[in-house]
C-alpha cells in the first residue's frame, strides 16, 4: 500500500467516523441507535475508487472506532451498526458486480441493506417482531439517503480520481 493511498484512506476513515457520530444525533424512528446510513458515503467512495477489500476494511474500522470513541463498544447501537453496515456492504457489492446499476442504484441498494440489517439486529436484540412494522418506513427513507450519498460520492470520486 503506497503512502498516498494510505493517507487518503485514513482521511476517509476519519471523515466516516465524524459522519457516523453526527448521524447518530439525527433521530429517525423510535428505536434508539437506528441510523440513516450517511456514513456509508465513505464506503461507497472507497468501493468505487479502490475496491471491495479496502471498503470492507474501512467499514469495519469505522464501526469499531466509533464504538470505542463514544463508549458504546458491544452495546446495542454497536450491533445495529455492525449488522446494518455489513448488509449494506453486501448489497452494494452485489449491485456493483451485477453491472446493471450506476452509482445511484448501488447506493440505494446499500441504503436499503443498511435499514434491513439494523432491523434484523434490533429484532434479535429486543426479541420482538413488531419492529418489522418500521421496515417499510425505513426503506422508504433510505431511498432518499441512498440517492443523497450517491450524489456526494459521485462528486468526491471525480475529485479523487483526477
Amino acid at each position: 500500500m503506497d503512502t498516498k493511498k494510505m493517507a487518503r484512506l485514513s482521511a476517509l476513515l476519519s471523515l466516516s467516523i465524524v459522519l457516523g457520530r453526527v448521524e447518530s444525533l439525527i433521530p429517525t424512528i423510535p428505536i434508539p441507535g437506528v441510523k440513516l446510513g450517511l456514513a456509508s458515503v465513505v464506503t461507497l467512495i472507497i468501493l468505487y475508487v479502490y475496491g471491495p477489500k479496502e471498503a470492507f476494511m474501512i467499514l469495519l474500522l469505522r464501526i469499531i472506532l466509533v464504538s470505542i470513541l463514544f463508549g458504546k463498544l458491544l452495546s446495542f447501537s454497536f450491533f445495529l451498526s455492525l449488522s446494518g453496515g455489513l448488509l449494506a456492504f453486501l448489497f452494494m457489492l452485489i449491485a456493483k458486480k451485477s453491472k446493471i446499476f450506476s452509482i445511484y442504484g448501488v447506493s440505494v441498494c446499500g441504503a436499503v441493506g443498511h435499514s434491513i440489517g439494523q432491523i434484523i439486529a434490533a429484532i434479535f436484540l429486543l426479541s420482538t417482531f413488531s419492529l418489522l412494522y418500521y421496515l417499510p418506513v425505513m426503506v422508504f427513507l433510505s431511498i432518499f439517503t441512498g440517492l443523497l450519498t450517491a450524489l456526494v460520492s459521485q462528486k468526491v470520486k471525480t475529485v479523487i480520481e483526477e
Binding site: P30, I31, P32, I100, F101, S102, Y104, G105, V108, C109, V112, L126, T128, S130, L131, Y133, P136, V137, V139, F140, I143, L147
Partner: protein
C-alpha cells in the same frame, strides 16, 4: 443514472408505500381494544372490536349496554337525563372516548401494541 436505477427506485417506492398503507389499514382495525370503566374502575375489555359483542354494566341510573361491531363501539342503551352518550353513536377513534357522566361509565379505545412501542421509545 441508468434505466435499472429508475426501475429499482420505482419498485422500492411502490412497495414501501403500499405496505405502509396496508399496515395503516390493518392497524386501525385489528390492533384496537376498548376498555370499559365504571366509576373509575376497569370492569371489562373488548379484545376484538370486529366481533359482535354486548356487555352490560350497572351504572348510577341503571344498566349501560355497550356494543361492538365492525371495529367500532357504541353505547346502545343507558338511562340518563339527556342520553348524550347513546346519541353519540359509534366511535372507532382513540381520541373519541364514550363518556356517560351521569352513569359514571367511560369507554375508551386504545391500541393493543401501544405498550410495546412505549417500552422501546
Amino acid at each position: 443514472m441508468k434505466k435499472a436505477d429508475f426501475i429499482l427506485i420505482a419498485i422500492l417506492l411502490t412497495l414501501t408505500l403500499s405496505i405502509t398503507f396496508l399496515f395503516h389499514i390493518n392497524r386501525n382495525k385489528e390492533n384496537m381494544i376498548a376498555k370499559v370503566y365504571n366509576n373509575g374502575e376497569l370492569v371489562y375489555t373488548f379484545t376484538d372490536l370486529n366481533k359482535e359483542e354486548i356487555f352490560t354494566t350497572k351504572g348510577v341510573n341503571g344498566d349501560v349496554v355497550i356494543e361492538t361491531k365492525d371495529g367500532k363501539v357504541r353505547i346502545k342503551e343507558e338511562t340518563s337525563p339527556l342520553n348524550i352518550c347513546s346519541k353519540q353513536g359509534w366511535t372507532d377513534s382513540t381520541s373519541k372516548p364514550l363518556i356517560c357522566l351521569p352513569n359514571k361509565v367511560v369507554v375508551e379505545i386504545v391500541g393493543k401494541d401501544k405498550d410495546d412501542i412505549d417500552a422501546i421509545a
